[in-house]
C-alpha cells in the first residue's frame, strides 16, 4: 500500500469519525434536555395542574388559568390568521405566481417567517396596547396572528404548487371559471397539506413567549375576559421559573412538559398527515 493511499485512508477515517462524534455530541445534548424535561415535568405534574389556578407561593395550585388563556389566544390567532394566510398562499401559487407583486410578497413573507418574535410583540404593543391603553388578551391574540399568517402562507403556497397543472387544465376545459377551479379542485387536492400547515402554525405559536410578554402580560387569576390581561402557559412558565419559590419552579417544569408534549403531538400529526397525502399522490 503506497504511503499516499494510507494517508488518504487515515484522513478519511479521521474525518468520518469526527462526524460520528458530532452526531453523538449533538444528539446527546438534546437527549439530556428531553430527559430532564420528562423527569422534572412528571414529578411536577398532578391533577391540580388542570383544575386550579396560579397559587400564591407556598400554597397548592395549578396552571388552569394559563392553559385556558393559551387555548383562547391560540384559537383566536388561528381563526384570524388561517383564512388570510390561505388566500395569500393562493394568490402566490395561482393568480400571481410569476408576477412582481408575488415575488416581493414571497420575500417579505419569508422574512416575517423568521423575524424575531419579540419585535412583532413590540409592533402589537405600539398598535394595540398603546391605543387601548392597557394590556389585553386581544393584543396577545393579535401578536400570535402576526406569527400565524406567514407560516400558513408558506405551507399553502408549497402545497398548491405541488398540484399538477393537468388537474387545473382539465377543470378549466370543462368550462369552470378560475375561482371555481381553485376552490373546488386545487384546494381540495391540497387539503391535507394545508391542514398540515395550520397544525404547524399552532405548534409554532403554542410555545411563543416573547410576543406575549407585553401584549397579554400575565394574570394570576382565572379570567376569560379578552379585554383584561390574560395568562398564558409560556409567560407563566417564564415568571415561575425565575421566581425563587420551589413550588412555582415545579409548576414551571410541569408547564414546560405540557407545552413540549402539545408541540410534539401536533408536529407528529402534521407529519403523518403530510406523508399520507404524499402516498396518495404517488
Amino acid at each position: 500500500m503506497s504511503p499516499i493511499y494510507a494517508k488518504r485512508r487515515r484522513r478519511n477515517s479521521m474525518f468520518l469519525g469526527l462526524s460520528v462524534v458530532a452526531t453523538l455530541f449533538g444528539l446527546g445534548w438534546l437527549a439530556v434536555i428531553l430527559g430532564t424535561l420528562l423527569y422534572e415535568g412528571f414529578t411536577g405534574i398532578d391533577l391540580a395542574i388542570f383544575t386550579a389556578s396560579t397559587p400564591p407561593p407556598g400554597l397548592d395550585g395549578g396552571l388552569l388559568n394559563a392553559i385556558v388563556g393559551s387555548l383562547i389566544m391560540t384559537s383566536l390567532a388561528v381563526l384570524a390568521g388561517t383564512p388570510i394566510g390561505i388566500l395569500v398562499g393562493t394568490y402566490l401559487a395561482e393568480y400571481g405566481r410569476y408576477t412582481r407583486l408575488a415575488f416581493v410578497v414571497r420575500l417579505v413573507n419569508d422574512i416575517l417567517l423568521s423575524a424575531p418574535s419579540i419585535v412583532l410583540g413590540l409592533f402589537i404593543y405600539e398598535l394595540v396596547v398603546v391605543n387601548m391603553g392597557h394590556f389585553s388578551g386581544w393584543a396577545g391574540a393579535a401578536a400570535l396572528t402576526v406569527i400565524v399568517i406567514p407560516v400558513v402562507v408558506r405551507t399553502t403556497e408549497n402545497m398548491l404548487i405541488l398540484i399538477p397543472n393537468t388537474l387545473r387544465e382539465a377543470a378549466a376545459a370543462l368550462g369552470a371559471p378560475r375561482a371555481h377551479v381553485i376552490r373546488k379542485v386545487t384546494w381540495r387536492a391540497a387539503r391535507t397539506g394545508m391542514i398540515t400547515g395550520v397544525l404547524l402554525a399552532v405548534a409554532r405559536i403554542s410555545g411563543e413567549t416573547a410576543p406575549l410578554l407585553f401584549t397579554s402580560l400575565n394574570n394570576q387569576f382565572w379570567s376569560a375576559d379578552l379585554n383584561a390581561p390574560m395568562a398564558s402557559l409560556p409567560v407563566a412558565i417564564f415568571q415561575m421559573a425565575l421566581s425563587p419559590y420551589a413550588d412555582w419552579q415545579r409548576l414551571a417544569w410541569a408547564g414546560a412538559l405540557l407545552i413540549t408534549m402539545a408541540v410534539l403531538f401536533l408536529s407528529v400529526v402534521a407529519r403523518l398527515l403530510g406523508s399520507s397525502s404524499q402516498s396518495e399522490r404517488d
Binding site: 478519511n12 462524534v21 430532564t36 408541540v263
Partner: protein, 329 residues
C-alpha cells in the same frame, strides 16, 4: 380591431347570465387574494413604521451615538445600545462557532454514513427537536446547564487558559454560571437541529451521479464530501447558516434566562451581559417614562434591521439554489 377582440372577450355573444355571474365571482375572488397579498406587505411596512415612531424620542435625544454608547441609566434617562448589541453579536458568534461544525458533521453522518433505517429515524427526531419552543431550552439552561458550568466547566476553563494571552482574559473572572458563555452555549444547542435539518436537505440535492463519478475514480468518502458535496451545496449551506444566525440574533427566551441582564461590555465571556432581545424582554413592562420605552423600542428596531439584512441575504442564497436545482431537474 383590438376593440372588437376585447369586447368579444368580455361579453361573448353566447354569454348567459350564469357565465357572467361566474366571471364576476372570479374577479371578486382574484381581487380578494390580491388584497390579502398586499396586506402582508402592509403588515411589514407598519411593523417598520410603528417601530420608527416608537423609537423616535430616543433617536431625537441620542442620535446615532446611541449605537456606540455603553451607558444604560434609567434613573438619569441616559441610554446607549452598545452593551446589548455587543452581547447579541458575541452570543450569536459563540453559538455559530459551536453549532455550525457540529450541525454539518451530523448532516454528513446522516447523508453519507448512516444506515438507511437509522437515517429516517434520526432525521425525524432532529426535525421534531427543531420545533421545540425556545423557552424549554431557556428553563433547562437556567436549572441544569448553569449550575454545571459554574461548578465544573468554567473553573476548569479558567485553569486551562491561565497564562495564555488573549484567551486568558476571555475565560476569566468568577464563574457565575450565567453570562454570555452560557447564553451562547444554549443558543448553539437550540440552533443545532435547525442547521442540521437544512444542511441535510441541501446535501440531498447533490446529484448522486456526481458522487458516483468521484467514487468511481477511487475517492474516499471524505474526499467525496469535501470535494464534491460541500462545493456543490455551498450556497445552500451558507443560506441555512444565515437563517440560523438570524434566529440566534433574535432569540429571546433561551437567552433571557441565562444572560444575567447586565448592561456592561466585559471582555470575559463568563461575565453577565445582555442582548437586545433579553433587554427588551426583561425591562419593557417595567420601563417608566417615555424615553426609557423609546430606547427599548429603538433596540427592537436595530434588531429588526440587522435580522432583516441577514435573513434577506439567506433567502437570496436559498432562492438561487432553488433556481439552480430547478434548472437541472
Amino acid at each position: 380591431m383590438a376593440d372588437i377582440v376585447s369586447s368579444a372577450h368580455s361579453t361573448p355573444t353566447f354569454a348567459t347570465a350564469r357565465t357572467r355571474r361566474a366571471h364576476r365571482a372570479d374577479h371578486i375572488f382574484h381581487g380578494l387574494t390580491r388584497i390579502c397579498a398586499v396586506f402582508v406587505l402592509l403588515m411589514f411596512a407598519s411593523i417598520v413604521l410603528s417601530l420608527v415612531i416608537g423609537a423616535w424620542p430616543a433617536f431625537e435625544a441620542f442620535g446615532f451615538a446611541f449605537l456606540w454608547t455603553e451607558v444604560w441609566n434609567p434613573v438619569r434617562d441616559l441610554f446607549g445600545a452598545a452593551a446589548p448589541i455587543y452581547g447579541t453579536l458575541v452570543t450569536s458568534a459563540i453559538a455559530m462557532i459551536i453549532a455550525v461544525p457540529v450541525g454539518i458533521g451530523i448532516a454528513i453522518f446522516l447523508t453519507e454514513l448512516c444506515p438507511r433505517v437509522l437515517r429516517r429515524t434520526i432525521g425525524i427526531v432532529v426535525e421534531l427537536l427543531a420545533g421545540i419552543p425556545s423557552i424549554i431550552y431557556g428553563i433547562w439552561g437556567l436549572f441544569v446547564l448553569a449550575p454545571i458550568l459554574q461548578q465544573t466547566v468554567q473553573p476548569a476553563l479558567v485553569g486551562i487558559f491561565e497564562g495564555i494571552p488573549f484567551f486568558e482574559s476571555l475565560f476569566a473572572g468568577p464563574p457565575y454560571g450565567i453570562g454570555m458563555f452560557t447564553a451562547g452555549l444554549i443558543l448553539a444547542i437550540m440552533t443545532l437541529p435547525f442547521i442540521t435539518a437544512i444542511t441535510r436537505d441541501v446535501f440531498e440535492t447533490v446529484p448522486s451521479v456526481l458522487k458516483e463519478a468521484a467514487y468511481g475514480m477511487g475517492a474516499t468518502t471524505w474526499e467525496v464530501v469535501w470535494n464534491v458535496v460541500l462545493p456543490y451545496a455551498r450556497g445552500g449551506v451558507v443560506g441555512g447558516i444565515m437563517l440560523a444566525l438570524g434566529r440566534a440574533l433574535g432569540e429571546t427566551m433561551a437567552v433571557t434566562f441565562v444572560i444575567g441582564n447586565a448592561h456592561r461590555i466585559s471582555v470575559s465571556l463568563f461575565a453577565p451581559g445582555t442582548t437586545i432581545s433579553a433587554a427588551i424582554a426583561n425591562e419593557f413592562t417595567e420601563a417608566i417614562g417615555e424615553l426609557y420605552v423609546a430606547a427599548l423600542i429603538e433596540l427592537g428596531l436595530i434588531l429588526f434591521f440587522v435580522t432583516f439584512l441577514v435573513l434577506a441575504a439567506a433567502q437570496y442564497m436559498l432562492y438561487r439554489l432553488e433556481a439552480r436545482t430547478g434548472e437541472r431537474a
